[in-house]
Point group: C2
Chain length 198, copies 2
């Protein structure tokens, strides 16, 4: 029987967010049924991502090069740094083309519930970048959730001894809202009206 | 930017049942974050399935060989044929080890709603196997849904001129129930009490 290959694929699929073990088995059968139109394109796309995409060792962005296109761009303002929870937030902000500086991706948010501690996020990397100097402003662009705001407070404390302007996104991001679900207009407004922390 | 690779993967993922475009983007980021533990195992498992698994040209089962292990097994009773909608149903029935014969996978069910017509299913293949002779009994093991039962009626008509006993699973399969969601006990009962069609 083909159970070994199918179980392995079902197990790998069930680790994706939103797919349980039962739906994973259904997906395997769907993949087998649609070999040319679903399985093979998925396989090629995964191979491309696996081969070509890198995590930027400077900022945590995902790109085809390390350092990423944003970190390597000489037209970017190196004195402004925008800190985000996830790569999806970086992309959402950068699509608005309103922030001229560079980014720093934490890789998540502090969460007592999910057991995410400061050492689980790329916070030391952020502090090191700020400590290295040359940065005037750090924008804390956390999600407007309780955990996002807790993370912003923690970062503000960690960065308070440095000679920088610490700002956060203006109200305009709806409470409870996740950045990458917002339209660009709302994001643009929130970024334009950003204000000092505290 | 890495948008080309990521868009391609998000698009390939969004073709999986249960994943929309928005969740597909989240899955891409999850895959990038968990490269060693999620992306690479998924890639290897897909490659295995793509390389090793075949659809049996006799019965439609999925296995590492064509003909499949069931079709090639000399201990199986070639005079009894069990017709199922999908490979998942074949597996669910075969796990019960109560059916000694062979199988035939239609690859779906007739559905006016989804535009599935007789020529979209492997019905000609079934009729050809029956017409070739040597089969005494055909068990129509469709799901106990309206569409499953419509399919069973259609098959009964297509097969009525052949000298075979046509049976279907006994009540015991709950109305509206899908075979591969049932426990083995219920399946076993339904199979044991199978009765002539009509
Ligand atoms: Zn970078
Ligand atoms: Zn077979």
């Amino acid at each position: 029987m083909a159970s070994q290959e199918i179980d392995a694929l079902a197990q790998a699929l069930s680790r994706l967010p939103g797919l349980g073990p039962r739906s994973a088995r259904r997906v395997v059968l769907h993949l087998m049924k649609k070999r040319e139109t679903v399985l093979q394109p998925l396989l090629r796309a995964l191979e491309m991502v696996e081969e070509r995409l890198k995590t930027c060792s400077t900022c945590g962005n995902i790109d085809t090069s390390d350092p990423c296109g944003i970190c390597a761009d000489p037209r970017r303002d190196t004195r402004a740094l925008c800190v985000v929870e996830d790569v999806s937030d970086l992309w959402a902000l950068d699509r608005s083309r309103l922030f001229p500086g560079k980014y720093h991706v934490l890789g998540g948010r502090l969460s007592a519930l999910d057991g995410v501690r400061p050492e689980d996020l790329n916070i030391d990397g952020l502090v090191a970048r700020v400590a290295a100097g040359g940065i005037d402003e750090v924008v804390l662009a956390m999600n407007a959730t309780l955990e996002g705001q807790t993370t912003a407070h923690y970062l503000a404390e960690r960065l308070e001894s440095y000679p920088i302007r610490l700002t956060q996104l203006a109200h305009g991001v709806p409470v409870g809202g996740e950045l990458d679900y917002l339209d660009e207009g709302t994001l643009a407004q929130a970024l334009r009206a950003r204000r000092p922390v505290g």
